[in-house]
Symmetry: C2
């Protein structure tokens, strides 16, 4: 079993949220699809296996998980939301050529600034955009 799957299901139990079939499948999908999937991608992924799955259920589940801090919401794009099962501090890089989103390590926990003293910081996100290595190399073809 995927370690994050175990971790999240434990947390759900602790919060008395039922480990329904749908929720577990959506969670599994997030664990093995680390490409920061959108709701639509999750839907397409699971549709073969669960033809009756509704998008509303996916939205509901993701909201539940996000409220408990078990997944991260990524607003790197203007039009759609992406979801990330990795909740530890890290940054995102979006390639504007191929559309891929890469993770990179960065510890934002200790970033502080006087301007925000007195503010309660609950979420920290660092987003870069540009062109990834592969696309840069292909450009020269």
């Amino acid at each position: 079993m995927h370690p994050r799957y175990a971790l999240v299901t434990n947390q759900l139990k602790k919060h008395q949220i039922r480990l329904s079939d749908r929720r577990l499948k959506i969670l599994e999908c997030l664990c093995y699809n680390l490409e920061h999937p959108t709701v639509d991608q999750i839907y397409v992924n699971l549709h073969k296996e669960i033809p009756t799955l509704s998008k509303t259920t996916i939205y509901n589940t993701l909201h539940t998980l996000a409220e408990l801090g078990l997944i991260r919401i990524i607003n790197i794009e203007d039009n759609k939301t992406r979801y990330d099962i990795i909740t530890e501090s890290h940054g995102h890089f979006k390639c504007q050529t191929c559309g891929s989103i890469f993770n990179f390590e960065v510890d934002l926990k200790f970033f502080a600034t006087d301007e925000l003293s007195g503010f309660k910081i609950m979420e920290r996100n660092l987003y870069f955009k540009g062109i990834c290595q592969e696309c840069l190399l292909n450009k020269n073809d």
Copy 2:
């Protein structure tokens, strides 16, 4: 005249983009409304003065300005895009209680990482979310 207004109009001239009445008004709106307005807020702001202004024109103008790097796109919210006339490196803090977006100083060049060597970084965004000082104080009423 607002210094940023001068700066942006110069750049537009340099790129042979006409300083039309609509564009200048939208730009002016961005210069004096530093609350990171949405398209709709710009529309409402200007509607009294220019009743025939179309939202499409606002979208077009903002796209033009963004393409030239003269404004910044803020995707801190999931549903709508905000725009920022300040293009110098800084972070954004969104209060989840009152909805305000605050700027704070931070040099994002500082967050370089070996993992992205070979990547071309064109845009850097740091977004925090939480509760602002004022809302924290009001909570105790």
